[in-house]
């Protein structure tokens, strides 16, 4: 039994229309209504956002990929953007969100697929890729993790991380006050003034009401901090399986990312995937697409050109 659907915010914010000229599409995935865009033709590239963003995060990355002749698919993960937003915390699990992506990839019958993942797009997207390996052509990884606890020292701190999503505090701060969707992203970009001027209102507008923002405090609670964490086995599996893959891979990281710092996280992905290109460091904190979206799009496009030239 699923919770009551909530389509209340399923409209593109006015502030985004000029920057997001794509036709909205919807698919029923794993019992939920998922919004996505599907543009261009060619081998597909799947761009996966995390918390608390939506497909709009990739708005500057998309044009260079389309110009390079790729089909670009950008879903809003369930609970974000224009997709359905479950109203019970118990509707959200790591495996469930991965299964949502599996459903989308199978419905669209995507093959020769490049998976580009960021933040929670990492654990969910990599789980989808590793469980559907015959469909995968390449991986691009940025500012995420795929191993058991804890992802960063930051996530073990009472201030601000654990306090922010503590019982009742999370629903108050991140729900009632939209702390992550607005100021949280603002604090995690380099050019904050530009972000405030051009993008902050768009991220806030797709999560207009406290109930819409549930996943913004639920995802932090899924980050493993000790051996009893709910997803600990899935993260162990991710690390184990990722170390076995030979798909072409690229690592892109924000030079100024102080949470998932590149010296720790990009380096660990490089150790898991020693054949991967990079890490390519670009201007950016955690939401590096906000500061270097066009450059990231170009990096991915040129990487896929080399993949194609190698006949992979």
């Amino acid at each position: 039994m699923q919770t009551q659907p909530n389509f209340g915010s399923a409209a593109i914010p006015d502030a985004a229309r000029d920057q997001w000229p794509y036709r909205p599409r919807f698919a029923r995935v794993n019992g939920w209504r998922m919004h996505y865009i599907d543009e261009g033709a060619g081998d597909p590239v799947l761009l996966l956002h995390g918390n608390p963003t939506w497909g709009y995060l990739w708005r500057q990355v998309i044009p260079p990929l389309l110009a390079a002749g790729h089909r670009v698919i950008v879903p809003d993960q369930i609970g974000f953007g224009l997709s359905e937003k479950p109203t019970s915390e118990h509707a959200h699990t790591l495996d469930g969100h991965a299964a949502n992506l599996v459903a989308l990839v199978r419905q669209l019958d995507l093959t020769r697929l490049t998976v580009v993942c960021h933040d929670w797009g990492g654990p969910t997207g990599l789980a989808m890729a590793l469980s559907n390996s015959t469909r995968i052509r390449a991986l691009v990884i940025m500012s995420t993790w795929a191993w058991p606890m804890p992802p960063a020292e930051f996530h073990t701190r009472v201030f601000p991380w654990r306090t922010m999503h503590a019982p009742l505090v999370g629903p108050y701060l991140l729900g009632n006050h939209a702390a992550l969707a607005g100021r949280g992203v603002y604090l995690s970009v380099v050019d904050r003034e530009r972000f405030r001027r051009e993008a902050q209102a768009v991220y806030e507008a797709v999560l207009p009401d406290p109930a819409d923002r549930m996943l913004t405090w639920v995802w932090p609670r899924w980050i493993p901090l000790d051996a009893s964490a709910r997803a600990i086995e899935r993260f162990a599996w991710l690390e184990q399986e990722l170390a076995r893959v030979s798909w072409p891979a690229q690592i892109i990281w924000g030079r100024e990312d102080e949470v998932f710092d590149h010296a720790t996280f990009a380096a660990r992905f490089k150790a898991l995937l020693p054949h991967a290109e990079g890490p390519h460091l670009v201007t950016g904190r955690h939401f590096l697409q906000e500061d270097s979206g066009v450059e990231i799009g170009g990096l991915i496009a040129s990487f896929l050109e080399r993949v194609k030239a190698q006949g992979t």
Binding site: S88, V158, T163, A179
Partner: protein, 131 residues
């Protein structure tokens, strides 16, 4: 020091319950569940009656604890304001009250959680009630 107090009973005549905050997973950090269990004697009381606290505005809030099969009790908690039946909420006052209730809760849970960290987190995210 707290400006929130537990009250043992409340006259609900001509009042309505207005849901203002929901927590589905009060045991995400188990010490929070333990705090509520101890503060309201929930191991004995269980689901028989709700709990009440009085907040700085003078409004009484009802705490309804939620049980879930297979999980320790309480699994969740809903906080209801109790305004006059046909009167709208004073949103700003409710927000300040909720912040005070959170501070009272953090004080009760105790280390490593602290009111200072809560206030600092509130200031970081520009919460109006944070000091």
């Amino acid at each position: 020091m707290t400006d929130v107090s537990i009250v043992t009973a409340h006259d609900l005549s001509n009042k309505r319950r207005a849901l203002v905050l929901t927590e589905h997973r009060v045991g995400h950090y188990p010490e929070f569940r333990a705090f509520f269990a101890a503060a309201f004697d929930l191991d004995r009381v269980m689901l028989s009656v709700p709990a009440y606290v009085r907040a700085p505005s003078g409004m009484t809030y009802e705490l309804v604890f939620i049980g879930r099969s297979g999980e320790p009790f309480p699994a969740g908690v809903e906080i209801f304001a109790l305004p006059e039946a046909l009167e709208p909420l004073d949103d700003a006052a409710v927000d300040r009250d909720l912040w005070a209730i959170l501070g009272w809760m953090i004080d009760g849970v105790g280390p490593p959680w602290s009111r200072a960290d809560l206030e600092a987190t509130g200031r970081l995210y520009r919460i109006p009630a944070a000091r």
